[in-house]
Symmetry: C2
Amino acid sequence: MKATILSVGTELLFGQVTNTNTVYLSQQLNLLGIDVMYHSTVGDNPERLADMMKRAFEDCDLVLTTGGLGPTQDDLTKEIACDVMGDELRPHKESAERMKIYFDKLGREMTENNWKQTLFPTRAHVFPNDMGTAPGFALADEKGKIVICMPGPPREMVHMFETYVSPYLEEKTEAAIYYRMLRCFGIGESKLETELLDLIDGQTDPTLATYAKDGECCVRVASKRRTKGEARRAVDEMTEKVKARVGTYIYSYDDENLADVVVRKLKEQNVSIACAESCTGGWFAKTLTDLPGVSSVFDRGIVTYSNRAKVEELGVSQETLDAHGAVSRETAVEMAQGLKQKTGCRMCLSVTGIAGPDGGTEEKPVGLIYFCAILDELMICRKSEMRRMGRAWNRNYAVLNMLDMANELLGK
Amino acid sequence: MKATILSVGTELLFGQVTNTNTVYLSQQLNLLGIDVMYHSTVGDNPERLADMMKRAFEDCDLVLTTGGLGPTQDDLTKEIACDVMGDELRPHKESAERMKIYFDKLGREMTENNWKQTLFPTRAHVFPNDMGTAPGFALADEKGKIVICMPGPPREMVHMFETYVSPYLEEKTEAAIYYRMLRCFGIGESKLETELLDLIDGQTDPTLATYAKDGECCVRVASKRRTKGEARRAVDEMTEKVKARVGTYIYSYDDENLADVVVRKLKEQNVSIACAESCTGGWFAKTLTDLPGVSSVFDRGIVTYSNRAKVEELGVSQETLDAHGAVSRETAVEMAQGLKQKTGCRMCLSVTGIAGPDGGTEEKPVGLIYFCAILDELMICRKSEMRRMGRAWNRNYAVLNMLDMANELLGK
């Protein structure tokens, strides 16, 4: 099945909004085994929209639209789709009822415009909108071409796709899809690919694909079989093979991110945590506190950006700073030990390094970073040397290293 | 002039990459007075790419492509564009020389593939790539249709557009464009729009437009005249009118972001800074240290997430915590005062609040945040109550408030 993703909205053509819907839908359609041939964007203009939709059906069997389902006069996607597919709009009873309930709850009157949102093509398969007022729908013509129209706001669209559209498409593609996203840290994408090369090249199902992003790597294991059970078994078997080869780098078999994994384990094991940051400048603490409810384990963070702060806050000795410099294994160790002594937290992490772009020397280049992590009586140290990456990358990579060390101490 | 933005790359159709180029180019073309009619994305497939380009020229005078200029066999944008515009490829001397110098610097041998990158259509206007190996170019046909091809990596594309493509297009559009982006904090977009409504509606040049993003607002003042000088004068005059109405909220007349403004002033006035964060959990410190070279003014940050940390690190009194709670004006003041006493930094900021989604009460709801900022003998306090926004939004908004208070103390 070949598809075009068609985004509707003048605001996109003005560059006022980044089109994240297209990325999401591309990923999801590829997972369903549907080939995405084109992305197109058009403004709120009925002729151009109709023209785009007809053109898309020249090459494709499936067109997914986002946007233009709202209550205003500009919103014409439904009308155009209905027209292109040779159908007509009629009141849709269930949608009208849902809409009434929605407005009753809000205690607001429905306007004439909102009634417009309860009209649908007679052959339409309507998808409810659990997050807003504009339902979506699928509409097929006699040749089997399908248009699927969804609302533009990403929150509404993603929920509708996951809950209603994806199952609808699975049925159409007559295949059950199952996949797992294995997330890795500490291995580069090319090495990961090399380790798995025969598994990637050697077979058509399950398929393996690797991705790299911001210092991390993923392996997607996907299978398309007659039943979900079969697909799942195939994916699980292949996952075991991948685990046997690169399992030490895998921190999640379920697409969890590293901070979530670490905070979950801290809570499960009732381990309190504190951090002492130099080059990451609070990014590690920010990453932990992005997660709601982390206050049950996270006690405090100290951002010791100056040397004076390292001495005063963490008891790093001036002798160590003089002899080894602020960016050294010795300083990282004293930072973590000082933090442990001060806070009594069971887990204490430290980081000190040169994020760049300035401040590097021949001996200590930009990208050199030292880490120390303590859990009770255990201590591990790490050194990272990534040249030629930028300041933001280096700092993010340092945060990931700290999380990875915490994960190692908590038991992978 | 009507334009299509055409993105080339199979990775986009897989959803492996978010297409930020299109947003950037849409904004820039609109600023140049060029109407963006369509966005299209196509994979690395020569027939479909040629087809897309021809179709785009049916409606548009200008097609901008990104991607597909690299050295590999997949990269065919140049060849297709040349073909569609009825030209042929020839070696381009300057590009060949630049390429040789580039590889000499790296100490690497040029491959046959790289030579491919120095061939250009005979009528092409070549744009050097100062950030990578693939130059871009503009190519017009006899009917005046123009294709502009640029590399895909955003860093390379943006630099090329700003430096070479934008001046090229300004000449073609026979208009001089000048604009300013005024950045505001502390006023909502609807209030901002109301204050400026007659200026927005009343005239065609200069144009005023407001934007809102993540707790901030912008006003774009743009003019298109016969000369840059005229356009600039018109923009400056209008800027004065805007300033007279909403000047107290404007922190930059040149699209600087708030952290940059604050750090610039800290450096100019030689003011040292430290911060004590509760609900923002290190985000403020991270925001400052995102900027290279901030170590000359930023001393340290203390993330006191637990009450114990507030007492131990900042000397907040247990009585204050018991009487007023951790989220209170009193606690915010003691946090900032304690930090000042401890560090001696001239500027000390504090924040404590309820970021959500949990932890709110009737009396102290999610979104309630207290701030304190001290500069030498001056102190200001602030309270923010934003209901119904999410955790990330609340935390980001708190960081912006801290920056805004610092800016106020340093002199707007």
